[in-house]
């Protein structure tokens, strides 16, 4: 993977649950502005934990980072407050509770700290509605009354208002029709290129997400088991096996990649 400029780098990240057990072990990945990185894996693999650790929003009562580093443009961001990181441009769209349901669409877009005031606010709103036309007709509706797809669009729009440099998307396709999912993913690709944002997208729809991604990582039980270019990964015959964690009979390539991944992570 070539890097044209320093971006988000996660090295050997380890997270432990307070109740006991490992959430993440030796996880390393990189996200570059302008490129899309996919992080896939089954439920409970640790994808959300990774995003939360990066964005500083890990619930301290449940888990804690115990090893590794996370840097943005060379500067360590581990242990900083979530709101500080958000202002720095590391913006997370969480899996659940992603918008403020008691605020209207417009208020949701105006609430982030970097939302402009006055005339510029109208410009900002226009741009978001251009990206997501479905929201225009709902601008004064409480977000709690929006449909799932509209809510997701609002969440992404709200995140964009923060002028992110790294956008972390957690399961944006959950519960949405394929047509909408395709729409959202297309919007992501456009955003990444046009606004030079590095997107780290977590999703269970492996194929859809690998199709738009540049790089990909497969997470399994808290470890990176496979990584590489998204296109190559899509082409692998044993992709399902790696994703589901099944060992297929003669698969030296998979094991070799795994060793390389662990070596890299160590």
């Amino acid at each position: 993977m070539t890097r044209t400029q320093p971006g988000l780098e996660v090295r050997n990240l380890g997270v432990l649950y307070r109740a006991g057990g490992t959430a993440l072990h030796g996880v390393s990945l990189a996200v570059t502005p302008g490129m899309i990185t996919a992080l896939v894996g089954m439920n409970g693999a640790g994808k959300t934990t990774t995003l939360r650790a990066i964005s500083g929003s890990l619930d301290a009562r449940l888990a804690e980072v115990t090893s590794g580093t996370v840097t943005w443009q060379g500067e360590s961001i581990l242990g900083r407050f979530a709101h500080t990181l958000a202002r720095k441009g590391i913006v997370l769209v969480p899996e659940r509770e992603k918008v403020f349901q008691t605020l209207t669409v417009e208020e949701n877009l105006s609430v982030p700290v970097k939302a402009p005031a006055g005339a510029e606010r109208h410009t900002m709103l226009d741009e978001v509605f251009k990206l997501f036309p479905a929201l225009l007709g709902r601008r004064n509706i409480l977000a709690g009354y929006l449909s799932g797809g509209e809510r997701q669009m609002l969440a992404i729009g709200q995140a964009l208002v923060m002028q992110p440099r790294i956008l972390l998307l957690d399961e944006i396709s959950l519960g949405l029709a394929p047509v909408i999912v395709a729409q959202l993913l297309r919007a992501c690709t456009d955003m990444a290129k046009a606004l030079d944002i590095g997107i780290l997208i977590v999703d269970q729809h492996v194929h859809a997400v690998l199709e738009i991604a540049d790089d990909a990582y497969i997470l399994q039980r808290g470890r990176v088991v496979l990584q590489g270019g998204a296109a190559e990964m899509l082409a692998r015959a044993d992709l399902e096996a790696a994703y589901l964690g099944l060992k297929s009979a003669a698969n030296d390539r998979e094991e070799a990649t795994e060793h390389a991944a662990h070596g890299h992570a160590a």
Partner: protein
């Protein structure tokens, strides 16, 4: 949570079918011997203080059932004790009811008030029970004030000494044994309660993040059950207080009394029977200790004239210290102190979180 069951307590639970270590048995017998011998060792003054401690133990255990085991809070403890005390006053002065009868009726009244007050609060968030009980406290105090001013010309009620077989409650030594017996009985009762199915259901309601939400309706019922029991026991303590002081006046039951009991439970250690007992003794002994201290150490005049506020202030400071630093109270402090050497050795491992 602290495993009270495994912890040696001063109650009789240790002797029920479990093998006691020799040193535990010796310790237990020694303590019991001292308790029994007290009336012959201590002066009347100290005996009176110990009697107050015993009453405080009952009240603290009652409150602990609510706070420690079902995670709710009552701000009406003082009012409930007043209810018990004034019931005793009314029943003895109007009907000349015997001792046992008075206690039963007072407890029942407490339970009923608990039921009435607890029912609405139960569907709501924990905060609502707090304000509901606050309202109950002031309502009871107002009723008692009215009663006192109309009937006793505002001064208060005398409680005559009641007969208990060949003895009289008016006798300091007799009352001491009576109160100690009640304290022990309530301790044993509470300990057994928590082991029972009912008690375990209550603890599940307290640890609500785990299972209580799925329990739905049952959670509501257990909260009411707990509150009714707490109220009944508190009223019982109030009635015993009336017999002990042989005088009942509404001034003794201010919101400050509620604070004292909250302090007992929190400082002693929530959800811990030894904690409540320890807290009860600690808080009961504190005001006389402060008074003595103020007399001995030179302090500005305002301190002695405002002694009441100073004592309350001290309770508040202790409450805060324990809420922030050691939510498990005095009882939790001891293992923490003992663990320091091994904690120093194990640096780098994830420390255990403090969940109150």
């Amino acid at each position: 949570m602290t495993s009270d069951a495994a912890r040696p307590t001063r109650s009789a639970q240790g002797s029920r079918g479990r093998f006691l270590a020799l040193w535990q048995a010796v310790w237990l017998i020694a303590v019991l011997a001292i308790i029994v011998a007290m009336p012959w060792i201590a002066s009347a003054f100290w005996l009176g203080i110990l009697r107050s401690c015993a009453i405080a133990v009952i009240g603290a255990l009652a409150l602990n059932i609510l706070i420690g085991y079902t995670g709710q809070i009552s701000l009406g403890h003082g009012g409930l004790m007043a209810l018990g005390a004034f019931s005793a006053a009314y029943l003895t002065n109007t009907f000349d009811m015997p001792f046992v009868g008075v206690l039963i009726v007072a407890s029942a009244l407490g339970g009923i008030v608990g039921l009435i007050a607890g029912l609405p609060g139960v569907r709501l968030r924990g905060l609502y029970l707090a304000v509901t009980t606050l309202g109950v406290h002031f309502a009871v105090i107002a009723g008692a004030t009215l009663y006192q001013s109309k009937v006793a010309m505002g001064t208060g009620f005398r409680i005559p000494s009641a007969a208990l077989g060949p003895w009289q409650t008016g006798d300091g030594r007799v009352m001491y044994y009576v109160l100690m017996l009640f304290a022990a009985a309530v301790t044993v009762f509470t300990a057994n309660l928590l082991r029972s199915r009912v008690g375990r259901a209550w603890i599940a309601v307290r640890d609500r993040d785990l299972a209580a939400e799925a329990m739905g309706v049952h959670a509501a019922r257990t909260k009411v059950e707990a509150f009714v029991l707490t109220s009944a026991l508190t009223a019982l303590a109030g009635a015993l207080l009336a017999y002990n002081q042989r005088f009942v006046s509404v001034e003794a039951f201010s919101f400050s009394l509620t604070i004292q009991y909250l302090a007992m439970v929190i400082i002693g250690g929530m959800a811990s029977i030894p904690g409540s007992i320890l807290g009860a003794f600690f808080i009961t002994l504190l005001p006389p200790a402060i008074e003595w201290l103020v007399g001995v150490i030179p302090t500005p005049d305002t301190v002695s004239t405002q002694l009441f506020y100073v004592q309350e202030g001290l309770f508040a400071v202790l409450l805060l210290v324990f809420l922030y630093v050691e939510p498990r109270g005095l009882v939790g402090l001891w293992p923490r102190l003992r663990a320091i050497p091994s904690r120093l050795r194990k640096r780098g491992r994830l420390p255990a979180p403090m969940h109150p």
